[in-house]
């Protein structure tokens, strides 16, 4: 059995923490790059069946991670359509699964934020002679700090998630082992101090990132109103 300080000095532990952050932050980055423009377009673009898309997108925020893990597993497995990429049981597969989980959150929250702002800005911008893509970009830029909420929600989902990364990553020691999968494993093995130590580190990391985001938002508010 480990004791607390020893755990925190453990090399292996920091490898696990680093991989966790790499996977989750990559997934958040990709999901935001795809989801924010998607959400913005959905906010300003009227087309038949839009309501169905909006409701579906909102529902997808609750996508069960194990189901996403299973689908990605099937896609990436040797016999699957993307099998020859050889991504199964790699960090890449974990990033893909988490991206799929976060994308609806990024798009749905961005859609809501842009739609609310759009209601306020649209007439004024049209009156100033700004329309279409330029207007959408102006709104998106103006509410950029509100979109931090979407980023944080995505990050929360990614860092807390265990089912999908367990299935597509395989929880392989030194390769795809991340904080949540280690906690699950160590708990079942009965190594509660290690599981608990990792849990504390995980919560600390999430708190740190949220605190940083909050400071950025506060500073921006003071500066830009």
């Amino acid at each position: 059995m480990h004791n607390f300080p020893a755990i925190l000095l453990d090399d292996e532990l920091w490898r696990i923490v680093t991989l966790s952050l790499q996977v989750s932050l990559s997934a958040v980055g990709i999901a935001m790059a795809l989801g924010l423009p998607l959400g913005a377009a959905l906010a300003v673009w009227r087309f038949p069946g839009r309501d169905v898309v909006v409701v579906t997108l909102n529902a997808l925020m609750g996508l069960p991670p194990v189901v996403v893990g299973l689908v990605v597993y099937l896609l990436l497995s040797r016999a699957g359509p993307l099998g020859q990429l050889g991504l199964l049981f790699t960090p890449g597969a974990m990033v893909i699964a988490q991206t799929i989980l976060i994308l609806p959150i990024a798009a749905a929250l961005c859609r809501q934020a842009v739609e609310d702002a759009w209601r306020e800005y649209e007439e004024q911008l049209r009156s100033l002679g700004v329309e279409g893509l330029q207007a959408a970009l102006t709104v998106l830029w103006d509410i950029r700090f509100s979109l931090l909420t979407a980023v944080l929600a995505g990050l929360g989902r990614a860092s807390a998630e265990v089912g999908a990364v367990m299935i597509v990553g395989g929880n392989i020691d030194g390769v795809t082992r991340v904080m949540t999968t280690t906690i699950a494993l160590e708990t079942s093995k009965g190594d509660l101090p290690l599981a608990l130590g990792l849990g504390i580190v995980l919560i600390g990391v999430v708190l740190l990132l949220n605190g940083a985001a909050h400071l950025v938002k506060e500073a921006a508010q003071r500066r830009y109103g």
Partner: protein, 237 residues
């Protein structure tokens, strides 16, 4: 010149409700035109039809100039509650100039001059969203001023402001008028109509009931509705 503006049997129906009944009129350059009427009479809607923010259900809105880009560029509108972008006051004035293709250093020079005009030059670097209601409205006027519009639409620009801010706004509107910009302003404030207007379009329940010079309108209103409105009998109908 994009004026005169002609409305030809223009009407607007929203969700089965006729907000503006078929209406024809011509607005020429020169005298300040006040669109007067009670809340809900259709003043703002009529203005949005003129400005092009709403499309009429029937009829046509025509400017003398047929080029839509020039028509758009030569008019500006100040709303009851202006929307400021989350950036500095100066950047807010520069924004439409940039959209209109005005290059630097001209853009900064024009924007700074516009802020000077409304007395906000000392707050140029401050975030616009932190301004008071009166300051934001002055900033909205600066934004319009920078565009040198031929026509300026104002939709109840002082309805949510205190008397001091209202006086400041009114003096800026007079400056626009003096500089040759055609003023078309919606208001339900009789005193303001008298102070700033040369002619009155009186709107009642979506119809143009009366059009007259200000003195004549207030002293000898031709319609019963206008007479009642002036006497204050139907302020909120």
């Amino acid at each position: 010149m994009i004026l005169p503006l002609r409305l030809d049997e223009v009407s607007l129906t929203i969700q089965g409700r006729t907000v503006i009944h078929p209406l024809s009129l011509e607005i020429a350059a020169g005298p300040a035109t006040i669109i007067l009427g009670a809340n809900g009479a259709g003043k703002s809607v009529l203005m949005r039809l003129m400005h092009g923010l709403l499309s009429p259900t029937s009829g046509r809105v025509q400017w003398r100039d047929a080029d839509p880009d020039r028509v758009r560029r030569m008019q500006a509108m100040v709303f009851q509650r202006p929307v400021m972008l989350r950036r500095s006051a100066l950047a807010n004035v520069q924004y439409p100039l940039q959209a209109a293709g005005v290059a630097e250093p001209e853009r900064s020079r024009v924007a700074a001059a516009a802020l000077q005009e409304v007395g906000l030059h000392h707050l140029a670097g401050r975030p616009a969203r932190a301004f008071s209601g009166g300051e934001q409205q002055r900033l909205a006027l600066a934004r319009a001023w920078a565009l040198h519009p031929e026509v300026l639409f104002l939709d109840e620009p002082t309805a949510s402001l205190d008397p001091t801010a209202t006086r400041e706004i009114e003096s800026i509107i007079r400056a626009f008028d003096a500089s040759g910009t055609k003023i078309i302003m919606a208001t339900h404030n009789l005193g303001q109509a008298r102070r700033l207007g040369d002619e009155v379009l009186f709107i009642h329940q979506g119809r143009l009931v009366e059009r007259a010079l200000v003195d004549r309108f207030f002293n000898q209103p031709a319609s019963a509705e206008a007479a009642a409105f002036i006497k204050g009998e139907l302020p909120w109908v």
